[in-house]
């Protein structure tokens, strides 16, 4: 009796436990899928591409930093210290800089995984594959460029003794630990070559995919326009002009606005001039702490000074505002520049009322919800003007410059050549693209010193703080990676 019972129980126990070891403990997640087999279908690849765009929304990238920090580091923006944000960047404190290293490389890995997976996806048309590939290449090129202009010198102004080269180039994706590569920094030239090849291939694949372009997603015009900008940074003026012309061709995305629609363009959900614009849905609202609206203004609507919205942490410097009012007509009266209407007095809700930039004013119909232009058509005229001016074509440059000047309400410039012409182009570039994330990068690519209002000290181009620090953990985790000097 005793033995039989014990025996039965023992058998029961053993059966219970071991008969189905794997089943017994099998649990599959429902909010995720296995990474090895994830990208084998067209649906999955499409979702994976969307997942790359999602990274671009990060406040480290276009969500805020790549738009606002260049204004704070340079001479367009002044920190008000209302929340304290961007004050360190405004003061050019050590380590107060761009921090998009992680997000960029994550997105680059995602793009690499998509590019790696694409040939193996079955039941997907070549046109659809081309469209996916074109987008992945565009975003990868775009992000390598964003890494370069923050962490490395541009080739034309490279300070050889300080330069540690470009950024690491990762060309294939990682799903398991064995695939991790400890890349060092590639040469500046190699990275630019890689970006060129990504954009060139992207343009080709967009063409063969035959898709209708929309500024909300990567498109052929965007690849051309970004090529123009990258070439300008590289000092390759032929390509800067060529790709600007391509991007301005008929049928391209982005419609150049007139003076009448200039302000209203900044009030519509998608800026009509945008060639590539990061989209935000209602549930992706960045919110009251770090959205561009809260960063730039206390207002919730133009002209409404009774309701305080955000912090208004970064406002135009006196120098910038003066520049908008620097031209006088024959009667000595200041000529009204339409672009100055995008700056107005904010509320006193967070402290002293300041004149604030209203380019980001909840254009999607909700406070703190703005789609963010990465590149817009006006820049193409400015890129080409500068490229032509630097290649000795003053007449062509002047034509493009005057497209921007006359639209703003300024008289057409005449007779400018040489440095005077280039200075005027750079001034218009500053006024046209202020608070859109260009100023610091433009000064940096030209090796210019940044002049700040007292008590904040100037930042000379030779200062190590011109380059962003590579995150310390990255240096620790990768012996091949060299930190920028000074950090």
């Amino acid at each position: 009796m005793k033995v039989t019972n014990l025996y039965k129980i023992a058998v029961l126990g053993v059966v219970l436990t071991f008969a189905s070891c794997t089943d017994l403990l099998d649990v599959q997640p429902r909010a995720s899928i296995d990474s090895v087999t994830a990208l084998t279908t067209e649906d999955a690849v499409n979702a994976a591409v969307n997942g790359i765009y999602d990274r671009l929304q990060s406040t480290n990238l276009y969500g805020r930093d790549l738009v606002a920090i260049p204004e704070a580091l340079a001479d367009n923006g002044r920190a008000t210290n209302k929340s304290g944000r961007l004050n360190p960047e405004y003061q050019n404190q050590v380590n107060a800089h761009f921090i998009h290293w992680q997000t960029s490389y994550f997105a680059i890995n995602q793009a690499n995984l998509v590019l790696d997976a694409l040939p193996k996806v079955e039941k997907m048309t070549q046109a659809n594959k081309d469209f996916v590939e074109a987008q992945a290449l565009f975003i990868r090129g775009l992000l390598y460029f964003e890494l370069m202009r923050a962490y490395a010198y541009e080739p034309t102004v490279e300070i050889k003794e300080a330069s540690k080269g470009g950024v690491p180039l990762l060309k294939t994706g990682v799903v398991d630990a064995t695939q991790i590569k400890l890349e060092g920094r590639a040469s500046i030239n190699d990275v630019y070559e890689f970006i060129y090849s990504d954009f060139t291939n992207s343009i080709a694949k967009f063409t063969s995919s035959g898709r209708t372009a929309t500024a909300s997603f990567a498109n052929r015009t965007a690849a051309q326009a970004m090529f123009s900008r990258v070439a300008l940074y590289r000092g390759d003026y032929t390509n800067a002009a060529k790709y600007a012309t391509d991007a301005l061709a008929t049928g391209s995305v982005g419609r150049f606005q007139t003076r009448d629609t200039y302000v209203s363009a900044w009030r519509s959900a998608n800026h009509p001039e945008s060639i590539f614009e990061i989209q935000y849905q209602t549930n992706e609202n960045i919110g009251v702490n770090t959205s561009l609206q809260t960063t730039y203004t206390t207002l919730v609507a133009s002209g409404n000074r009774t309701t305080t919205g955000g912090f208004g942490d970064l406002v135009p410097t006196k120098a910038l505002l003066d520049a908008y009012e620097s031209e006088k007509d024959a009667d000595g009266k200041i000529i009204t520049d339409v672009r100055r209407s995008l700056y107005e007095l904010g509320t006193a809700g967070r402290g002293t009322a300041e004149i604030e930039c209203t380019k980001f004013l909840g254009r999607s119909g909700q406070v703190n919800l703005d789609n963010i232009p990465v590149i817009r058509v006006s820049e193409m005229y400015l890129n080409r003007a500068e490229a032509l001016a630097r290649s000795g074509n003053a007449a062509g440059a002047l034509t493009d410059l005057n497209v921007i000047r006359t639209r703003a309400g300024l008289p057409a410039a005449t007779g400018l050549t040489g440095a005077a012409l280039i200075n005027e182009i750079l001034k218009q570039r500053r006024l046209e693209l202020a608070f859109e994330g260009h100023r610091f990068f433009d000064m940096k690519r030209l090796g210019l010193d940044i002049v700040k209002a007292a008590p904040v000290q100037n930042l000379n181009f030779t200062d190590f703080r011109v380059l962003a620090p590579i995150p310390t953990r990255e240096i620790q985790a990768n012996a091949n990676l060299k930190q920028n000097i000074g950090y």
Binding site: N5, L25, V27, A44, A47, G51, K82, N109, V300, A477
Partner: protein, 1023 residues
């Protein structure tokens, strides 16, 4: 020796035969010497035989014995007695209660064991010791009660979470909670996403229902719980029905809850002065009058105010409107009784407690039913069900508090003091419609607190069925099934009139979490005594557990009017979110205990355990424990020695697993939710590691249990070494890979500790008509925690926060920062030391050049001291607990030290000690706009606000009166006690904030609800 044993065996057989020949029936009644009430369920056995019975409902027993045998009466909580029959037929007996009786049965994993033969390390706390504490949950009441068990309230939220650590921290990444097992049911102690409030998963358990709490501390006692036991196991046993006339207990207390402290902050004039100073210090060329105009303008006062007008400005006290007194009350009633065949225990409780902060409270209750039925003489069925429901109102900013503008707990001391709270007409001042209030904290936090609704409701059902089948003498089979079901509903209503929801016209968030935890187990027990000296007890079992949690969330914005408080009425749906997670565990386990005449003790335990959390290559693990003991007091040379009642040496060694990692941490994953343009997107989220396995804790324990001078001095001394190996670390990988980390079993750390506890009866005249009695109990724990191994050749784990530093040779979560060097007497600038001892003004460059380890967040010493005095019917208990060696960042004080650097109010002590004149020696830098001097670091950097969080606290002071039984008999009441109790009465601490007892849930002590002081008046009745 051998021959002697044989002889005694023969003798026993002979006696047995004799007994058979001369059987007679003995009967009697067993009563309690405390109050003379009958004791049902007392075990009455015949010494040297397996024969035995129990007393019935009226304390009466009947047993057939031989005339010259001896009866052993034993009962949990009473001193057992041996009574020679001496041919009597009626033996009535009074049993004396003794809380510390050595031979009582104690609950161990999956069974019970006599304390005398216990060889593992386990701490016991009686339910009655903690039942009256106003803590909602028993875990907080354990603070200071048991050696080796450290408890810290997460915050002062009623029903809020607590951090319980048994023998230190044995992990870097994993969870540190012990495993909670209530009447055999493993409870899911993860408070889950109790979203909007700090919630304790043990709220469902009425402390009055608790019979005893056992904390299993070493591998020998806990290995039977295998892969889940590394952080210790807390076994809670609830009260059961006892056969006999139905007894009713009624317990109630009621009282007030109040803040322990208000911070002394600046008045309006002082703030204006210091803010002005900060501006002038930053820009010395500014004309004073111009600076004053800027100062006044920025805080929305008329810039043209004269000195006299400034002097006449009023000051408003936001703290005393936010931190307020509240009420607490608790009612608990239980009935228990039954027949010989079936017994029941029914209880119900209701608790309502306010926090010491406006609009934060707890209301809830439970119903508990336990029914036991003897179906046949072999089969017993035990059923229990516990239903509970409670609702908590939480604070703005969620359970972790945080530096939220709208949070009264954070903002009240920091709001600029010239801001009125109410307008003259009694409505709120500074509504968003009016443009807010002046300063960085621009919200009227009382309006935010009053109008918003932040709630979390938990409905929980725990039910179990246990069958006990006696296969034969000494052998029983006990299968059981249990379910622990919890539903948590979070609700957050942001009123459209308050700042955060003003522009979106109101926001509503709902979060629902359902947790189902299902457990099946079966245990076979075997007990055998051979030759009356070899006692063997064996157990084998198997267990299966499945736990799943599902969470659904939504939020919507834009409601028509504030009366609409459901998301359905909102115009814009904003988010929907859902998650699902689960784990499964299975294991087989066994235990063999052997003792030789109670002298030489041996225990073997093992469990083979598997968990779905681990990598495919390492699903299963084996966890053994061995322990041995030698009770010297049972040796001939000490036996019957009046001074030495117990002297037991014991040692144990074993291995335990820790499985508190994410359910899918070993998998390579592509996750959803990476959406763009309204279309779904996916992205890789985790690198795969199929080798991931449990963290292993190897514990060595040496101990001495002693009972001296007729057990008037009792206690234990224990020394342990807990080595935690294969610690799972998120090993950083270069971001170039697209990932931040990979989970790997790479680290190792060690806790070495000493535990000491002593319980003494100092004076005892209580036998003599309730005379004076004084008892003391004291416990002390010292723990040295040290990281011993990281991966590769690392000596420091990268990517850690400065207050969570992991460095070989130092405790886990050390603090690594620059030492604050005070203020340069010449300039008033803040200074720090670099690692060469040089003064620096800016913490820049490589942090290793100026940082060093300045302390640890883990306390080194803790414990408690209880003194109890009773005389006649009066009793007085004073309970102190203490903790030393914990250093924590004081976020709140850091904000309050800005001295006008930003528009925050400041502590008066900081203001009065600020640097103002060259030559002045102080630790408070001069006020400076923006808080960082040119080329200087912010004034709160470095070690300046890492404060010593040590404390000694008068945790409870209780004064009670027991009415005399004679008096009560006339009104047919068994017992009645009235008491007053003070909780958190007084604290000695150097902490400059509200209170140093908090757990950093992510925001430090920013906006944390401080621990309250509670004064209660209570009644305990037995009918």
């Amino acid at each position: 020796m051998m021959r002697k044993n044989l002889l005694s065996l023969l003798f026993a057989v002979f006696i047995g035969l004799q007994a058979f020949a001369q059987d007679k029936t003995v009967s009697g009644k067993v009563t309690s010497s405390d109050d003379g009430t009958p004791l049902p369920g007392v075990s009455v056995s015949v010494k040297g035989t397996s024969r035995g019975t129990t007393t019935d409902a009226s304390g009466v027993y009947k047993i057939t014995v031989s005339g010259n045998s001896t009866l052993i009466f034993s009962f949990i909580g009473f001193t057992s007695q041996q009574v020679p029959v001496n041919n009597r037929t009626i033996i009535d007996l009074q049993l004396a209660s003794d809380a510390q009786e050595l031979s009582e049965a104690v609950v161990v994993g999956y069974g019970t064991q006599s304390r005398r033969t216990l060889t593992g390390s386990q701490a016991s706390v009686k339910g009655s010791e903690i039942a009256t504490m106003p803590t909602n949950t028993f875990d907080k009441a354990l603070q200071g009660r048991a050696a080796g068990v450290q408890v810290l309230g997460a915050n002062g939220t009623p029903g809020g979470a607590a951090q319980v650590r048994v023998r230190g921290v044995g992990t870097i990444k994993g969870g540190t909670d012990p495993l909670y097992v209530v009447d055999g049911v493993q409870i899911n102690s993860n408070s889950g996403s109790a979203a909007f409030t700090s919630s304790n998963p043990l709220n469902y358990l009425n402390p009055n229902d608790i019979e005893s709490i056992e904390v299993l501390k070493d591998a020998a006692s806990a290995a039977i719980y295998g892969a889940a036991a590394a952080n210790g196991v807390v076994l809670i046993t609830t009260k059961k029905g006892k056969s006999g006339a139905t007894k009713i207990s009624f317990d109630a207390f009621s009282g007030i809850v109040e803040p322990t402290k208000y911070l002394d902050v600046l008045n309006t004039q002082e703030f204006i002065a210091v803010r002005n100073e900060a501006l002038i210090n930053q820009s010395p060329t500014t004309e004073p009058a111009a600076a004053m105009r800027t100062t006044l303008g920025a805080i929305r006062l008329d810039p043209a105010l004269t000195a006299d007008q400034i002097a006449a400005l009023p000051t408003y006290d936001w703290q005393r409107e936010s931190y307020v007194s509240g009420k607490t009350s608790n009612y608990s009633i239980s009935l228990n009784g039954g027949s010989d065949k079936s017994t029941f225990y029914l209880s119900g409780s209701y608790n309502s407690s306010d926090a010491n902060v406006r609009n934060v409270d707890y209301k809830g209750g439970n119903i508990n039913a336990k029914i036991s039925n003897k179906v046949t003489s072999r089969l017993t069925v035990d059923n229990s069900i516990n239903l509970s429901s409670f609702i908590q109102r939480g604070q703005f900013g969620g359970p972790a508090g945080g530096s939220f503008l709208g949070s009264p707990t954070f903002s009240a001391p920091l709001i600029l003091p010239h801001n009125p709270i109410y307008k003259d007409d009694g409505t709120y001042y500074g509504t968003p419609a009016d443009g807010g209030i002046a300063g960085v904290l621009n919200q009227n936090v009382l309006m935010v607190s009053d109008l918003n609704k932040i709630e979390s409701r938990v409905n929980q059902a725990i039910a179990s069925t246990v069958l006990t089948y006696k296969i034969m003498k000494g052998l029983s089979f006990r299968p059981s099934a249990s379910v622990d079901y919890r539903f948590i509903k979070g609700f957050n209503f942001q009123d459209p009139r308050t700042a955060d929801a003003f522009n979106v016209r109101g926001r509503i968030q709902n979060q629902n979490t359902e947790n189902i935890n299902f457990i099946l187990n079966a245990v076979v027990n075997y007990d055998k005594q051979i030759s009356s000296v070899h006692n063997i007890s064996a157990l084998a079992g198997a267990e299966y557990r499945r736990d799943q949690s599902e969470n659904v969330q939504q939020s919507a914005e834009g409601i028509p009017t504030p009366q609409f408080t459901v998301a359905g009425a909102a115009a814009n749906p904003i988010t929907t979110f859902a998650s699902w997670t689960a784990f499964k565990k299975a294991g087989v386990f066994g235990r063999v205990s052997y003792d030789y005449a109670g002298k030489y003790l041996l225990g073997l335990t093992a469990r083979y355990d598997g968990s779905s959390r681990f990598g495919a290559n390492n699903l299963w693990g084996f966890f053994p424990g061995i322990s041995a003991g030698w009770d010297l007091s049972q040796e001939a040379f000490l036996k019957n020695n009046a001074y030495v009642n117990q002297l037991k040496l014991r040692a144990s060694y074993g291995s335990l697993g820790a499985d508190q990692i994410g359910n899918f941490d070993s998998r390579g994953l592509y996750g959803g939710g990476f959406n763009y343009g309204g279309v779904s997107g996916i992205a890789p989220t985790q690198l795969a590691n199929p080798n991931l396995r449990w963290e292993q804790n190897v514990t060595t324990n040496f101990a001495l249990d002693y009972g001296l001078f007729n057990n008037r001095v009792q206690g234990s001394v224990e020394y342990f070494i807990r080595t935690s190996k294969d610690l799972i670390l998120d090993r950083p990988v270069t971001w170039l890979s697209g990932y931040s980390t990979i989970s790997e079993n790479v680290g190792e750390l060690q806790n070495k500790g000493l535990e000491f506890d002593i319980r003494t009866v100092n004076v005892d005249k209580s036998a003599n008509n309730r005379g004076f009695k004084w008892t003391t109990s004291f416990n002390f724990t010292q723990i040295d925690n040290k990281v011993t191994k990281l991966y590769d050749t690392l000596t420091t784990l990268p990517g850690r926060a400065v207050d969570g530093w992991i460095k070989i040779g130092y405790p886990v979560n050390s603090i690594y920062t620059a030492e604050y060097a005070g203020v340069n007497p010449a300039t008033g600038r803040a200074m720090w030391y670099d690692n060469n001892g040089n003064i620096i003004y800016r913490l820049a460059g490589n942090p290793d050049s100026y940082s060093k380890i300045i302390g640890s967040q883990i306390p080194r010493y803790y414990g408690g001291l209880t003194n109890t005095f009773s005389y006649k019917g009066f009793d007085l208990e004073v309970f102190l607990n203490y903790e030393f060696g914990r250093t924590v960042f004081n976020n709140q004080s850091a904000f309050m030290a800005e001295n006008g650097g930003r528009l925050f109010n400041t502590l008066r002590s900081i203001y009065e000690n600020r640097w103002t004149t060259p030559g002045q020696i102080t630790t408070v830098p001069r006020p400076f706009n923006g808080n960082a001097e040119v080329l200087g670091s912010g004034i709160t950097a470095g070690s300046r606000f890492y404060e010593d969080a040590s404390f000694i606290r008068v945790k409870t002071l209780t004064f009670g009166y027991n009415f005399s039984r004679e008096l009560l008999k006339k009104v047919k009441i068994d017992r009645a006690r009235l008491y007053v109790q003070g909780y958190n009465l007084y604290t000695w601490s150097k902490w400059t904030g509200f209170d140093s007892e908090f757990v950093n849930l992510g925001s430090g002590n920013n906006g944390t609800i401080p621990q309250p002081r509670t004064l209660t008046f209570g009644l305990q009745l037995g009918l």
